[in-house]
Amino acid sequence: MANLLPLNKSEQIQARSEALFREHQQKIFKQTDRVFAVLFFLQWVAGIVAAILISPRAWAGTQSSVHVHVLAAVILGGAISFFPILLALLRPGKTSTRYVISVAQMLTSALLIHLSGGRIETHFHVFGSLAFLAMYRDWKVLIPATVVVALDHLIRGMFWPESVFGVLTIEPWRWLEHAGWVLFEDIVLYYSCLRSVNGMKEIADRTAELQWVNQQIEAAVIDRTHELRESEEKTRMIIETANDAFIGTDEKGMISEWNKEAESMFQYSRAEAMGKQFSDFISEESREVYQKGIEKFLHNGKKHASNKCIELTALRKNEKFPVEITVSPIRHNGSYRLNVFVRDIAERKKAEEELRSAQSQVIQAEKMNSIGRVASGVAHEVKNPLAILIQGIEFLMKKVDQTDPDVRMVLQSMQTAVAKADIVVRGMLDFASVASVKMEQYHLRHILETSLPLVKHQLDRQKITLVQEFRPDTPELMLDKNRIEQVFVNLLLNASHAMPNGGVITVKVYPKKLSVGDPFTGKRKQDLFHAGEEVVIADIEDTGHGIPPEVADKIFDPFFTTRRTSGGTGLGLSVVRNIIQMHRGIINLENKEQGGGARARILFRTSGL
């Protein structure tokens, strides 16, 4: 059964060494086969040339014919050479090819010796051939060659000794002497082959070991590369999925990295942004700040601008938006690479603004509450003395002779002053009393209709036209009827005061589904209204002089009035806002976008009071 366990280091090297050795050996075998193919051809040609030069023709007197040696060189020489040439070309590297070559080489030696007339010099061909065969570095190849020489001498020594040894009465063992010299060379070549093979094995061992080490190094490199790729991929994923825009630039600010958030934030694709200057994406007023910071850093290496959050204004297709950037410089190949993280802080800014507004509202509410308590206390304390004063003035007006104009004027002035004080006290009580509401289901239209008769006289007197637009699909709401009546009366009177020379008051009541971007919506839980919520809106618009900008912020403050001289207490709008807030609604007072005049807009929630 085959051993399926993985090979250990030495076994791996051993196996590889053997493979390398065999490969090298095969290469030598094939190369030597090719050398012999060429050699056989050259020997064949040389044999023919030698035969032509030495014994071209056989003579009989003046008659001649081609010498048998020439024919032998061509035909027999060709026959000897052709087969090993064929094998060397068709079956290079095979053991049998080498053995045939070995035999053929010795036969070639015999032929050449014969053609040269047995010259002793030609016998060196035998020894040269053995040396050539040793090029195979396979000592076994010498065996067939030696056997051929020995057999040649043995057979010819037995049947025609003079052709080999020159004398007829030769000793029977003489062939052994000749073969002995061949064996002598064989022994030398045998050791030479062994040493060559050992050298090849040593080279194979060293190569195998080197290859093993290389393989280990390559495997380690592949592993590290893989890890590096994974790490790069992770980094890229982090950068690509980051909530902040990541922008990589060179020292000169040219963009080389641009993640998905950057594409979304600046609305430039990666391909579009590449090669552009990062400063092109910063607004003109912020550009100088950014560039100065970077230049300072590059000049003195101090990180003025790096790793700090800087708030700038960025550009998105000519639209400005606030951003916070952090620049991280990295030294790479002698220059800096700037990694810029950009965060869109528009939402945060808005939230901060809303928070400030909410805080302001809380403070305002607290203030109102305090004022309410104070007003309530003061009103209660002042109310009774005022009642006594009013009754006293009425009594005096009945009892005192009013024929004296001075007396009459004093009494009337007292009566007017006390009446004014009474109005103020009543207003203060109203203001302070908005602490609880009694909710019932009503149509806003119904409440508005019951409120109108209360202001009709005032509107008629000022030649003010009232336009009513009620959407029939407006749902019923949970309302405190009296309080909402008070709101409408206050707002209608306010509108009439803004139009002393007459005009038009338009009252619109309609339902609406709030959407993202509506000024009254917010994303936070604590926001009163959210996108998707159903509300009922009541708009009261006038065509008067509008709200002066300098008073816009104080319009709902208690005791703030622009009609102090004409009897305004400054408590009406404060009371209105308190009532709306008790209904968890919103009131907003602003100038109309078109046509002049102001608009009071009230949002009522349809559910969840």
Binding site: I54, W59, G61, Q63, L76, G166
Partner: protein, 199 residues
């Protein structure tokens, strides 16, 4: 290698071995087959034009100027003469058929023979002397003693055009030295025919 390939390969090797073996055998056969030979005159022929030295043995070598096989014979003669300097008179007779040029006659073989010390090279017009001494083949060597008695006849190479020690040259050396020789004193001759086939 499939069994079929093995058979094809083995058959190819066998065919090759047989083919080469047959070629080698033929070549050996050719090299070891002697040429035509006639018995030389036992006594020095009276009509010979060659000057007879009465004090020393006389060696005659008949050569075809163009015979490649006789190159080995001339080489062997050189060795004999080196060994027997001053103890033998030697003539190399180059057969000159009628109508051939001087250039044809004085081939490399002539020049080689001329360079051997103690050897006199002679033309043998129409091969008269060769015929007189019954020599038909290039390489035929004769040794007569001072009294004109034939001591040796035959070739002094082991095979056709084959260099190297051989029984013929060894025997002739011994005879020149005046030693008695056991066994035969005439040997096979390997070389080209001195005369046309129709002569």
């Amino acid at each position: 290698m499939t069994m079929k390939h093995k058979w094809v390969f083995a058959s190819s090797v066998l065919v090759w071995v047989l083919l080469v073996g047959a070629g080698e055998t033929f070549l050996l056969q050719y090299s070891s087959t002697p040429a035509l030979q006639m018995t030389a005159p036992a006594l020095w022929p009276e009509g010979s034009q060659i000057a007879k030295n009465t004090k020393l043995p006389l060696l005659l070598l008949f050569v075809h100027p163009k015979c490649p096989c006789s190159r080995a014979t001339v080489g062997e003669l050189s060795k004999i003469m080196t060994h027997s300097q001053g103890k033998v008179s030697a003539y190399v007779l180059f057969a000159k058929p009628e109508g051939v040029s001087e250039k044809w006659l004085k081939s490399d073989l002539w020049k080689n023979a001329s360079r051997i010390p103690g050897v006199q090279v002679l033309e043998d017009p129409n091969g008269f002397e060769a015929k007189r001494f019954h020599s038909l083949t290039s390489g035929q060597t004769l040794l007569y003693d001072a009294k004109g008695r034939l001591l040796f006849e035959g070739g002094i190479t082991a095979a056709r055009g084959h260099f190297g020690d051989n029984q013929g040259s060894e025997t002739i050396k011994q005879l020149i030295q005046g030693n008695a020789v056991k066994g035969r004193s005439h040997f096979k001759v390997f070389g080209c025919a001195l005369f046309n086939h129709n002569e």
